[in-house]
C-alpha cells in the first residue's frame, strides 16, 4: 500500500487517533491499514452506532470514520448523538451508499465529510487533512511514516 507523508496533531506532534466504526471486520481492517500509512493510530474500533458512542466517550479520538448502515444504531444517528455531546467531534462518514439524501442527512446532523466506498487512500488522506485543518500538520518527507 502507498505510503503518505505522516499527518500529526499540530498541538503535540503526536499521531492522529482514530475511531473506526463499521460492522464489517474486513472494512475496519482495510481502514486501519490505510490509517497506518497516514502515520495515524487506531484508538478504538466499533461494529455499531451504540458501541461507537461509548468508545468515543472512552477514547476521545481526533477523527471518527463512521459507516452508515449498521445494526442496532445506524451511523448517521450515532454521529448526531456524538456531536450533540461533543460539538468538537470530527466525524467522516464512510459508506458505499453515497446518494445525495444520505450525504445531506449526514452533514446536517453533524458529520464533517463523506467518503464513498470503495475508499481510495489518496481521497481519504486529503479528506483527513481537510477535516483536521489547522489541528493537523503534515510531517516533512524525511519524517514521513516515523
Amino acid at each position: 500500500m502507498e505510503q503518505f507523508a505522516a499527518v500529526k496533531r499540530s498541538k503535540d506532534g503526536q499521531a492522529v487517533r482514530y475511531l473506526i466504526v463499521d460492522d464489517s471486520v474486513f472494512a475496519r481492517k482495510n481502514l486501519a491499514r490505510m490509517i497506518e500509512t497516514f502515520g495515524g493510530q487506531v484508538a478504538a474500533e466499533a461494529g455499531d452506532g451504540l458501541t461507537a458512542i461509548s468508545e468515543f466517550d472512552r477514547t476521545h479520538p481526533d477523527i471518527v470514520l463512521m459507516d452508515i448502515t449498521m445494526p442496532q444504531m445506524e451511523g448517521i444517528e450515532a454521529a448526531e448523538r456524538i456531536v450533540q455531546a461533543h460539538p468538537e467531534a470530527r466525524i467522516v462518514m464512510v459508506s458505499s451508499v453515497g446518494y445525495q439524501e444520505n450525504i445531506v442527512a449526514a452533514l446536517q446532523r453533524g458529520a464533517r465529510h463523506f467518503v464513498q466506498k470503495p475508499v481510495k487512500p489518496e481521497v481519504l488522506y486529503e479528506v483527513i487533512k481537510y477535516v483536521l485543518g489547522e489541528d493537523g500538520a503534515v510531517a516533512n518527507a524525511a519524517g514521513a511514516g516515523v
Partner: protein, 174 residues
C-alpha cells in the same frame, strides 16, 4: 412482443448500474482491469460456484444480488485485501465477499436513488445451499462473469419493479 422488449429494456436500466458498480469496485479493489467475460440470462435455479454472498433489496425495486467466487478465487481475493495469505477456512474470506457485495450494491443504489428510486438494503447473507430459488416469471435474473487477475467473479442480479410501490408513487404524483 414489443411490450416484452420494452419490459426487458427497462430492467436492463436497473441492472446496468450494478454492472458498472461491480466493474468499478473490482477493478479498484483488485488493482487491475476487469473484463465482462460473459452475460447470461438465468432460466434455472441459481447454482452456487463457491463462496457466495447475497444481498436482498426491498422498496421501489426488489430482488437480490449474489456475488459468488470459486473457493480458490475467494482466498486469493481476500488475501489480496488482507495483505497476507489467508487459509481457506478464514472468516475474513466470507467478510471480504460480504463487503464487496455491499460496496457493489451501495454504489449501484446510489445511482438509482438519484434517479428517484428508494430502497432498503438488507444485511448480506452467506449462501450455503448448492442451489437457490428458481427465478420467478417476472423477475429477470442476469448472471455476469467478471474476469479478474485473481479469477472469475460472478454476479447474479434478479430485480423487478415493485408494482404496488410504483403505483403509489404515481398516484401521489397525480
Amino acid at each position: 412482443m414489443p411490450q416484452e422488449r420494452e419490459s426487458k429494456s427497462m430492467k436492463m436500466e436497473l441492472i446496468q448500474p450494478f454492472i458498472n458498480a461491480a466493474d468499478a469496485v473490482l477493478s479498484q479493489g483488485l488493482s487491475g482491469k476487469t473484463k465482462v467475460e460473459g452475460l447470461t440470462m438465468e432460466v434455472h435455479a441459481y447454482r452456487r460456484k463457491g463462496v457466495a454472498g447475497m444481498i436482498a433489496l426491498t422498496g421501489d425495486i426488489e430482488g437480490r444480488i449474489v456475488l459468488d467466487m470459486e473457493p480458490q478465487t475467494a482466498v486469493k481475493v481476500a488475501s489480496h485485501y488482507a495483505g497476507a495469505e489467508l487459509p481457506e477456512s478464514d472468516s475474513l474470506i466470507k467478510e471480504t465477499i460480504f463487503e464487496l457485495a455491499n460496496q457493489v450494491v451501495g454504489n449501484a443504489i446510489s445511482a438509482l436513488n438519484d434517479q428517484g428510486f428508494h430502497f432498503r438494503v438488507h444485511p448480506p447473507l452467506l449462501l450455503t445451499a448448492q442451489e437457490g430459488d428458481k427465478t420467478s416469471e417476472d423477475t429477470e435474473a442476469l448472471e455476469i462473469c467478471f474476469e479478474t487477475a485473481m479469477g472469475n467473479v460472478y454476479m447474479n442480479v434478479a430485480l423487478r419493479y415493485n408494482k404496488r410501490r410504483m403505483a403509489d408513487h404515481a398516484a401521489m404524483g397525480a
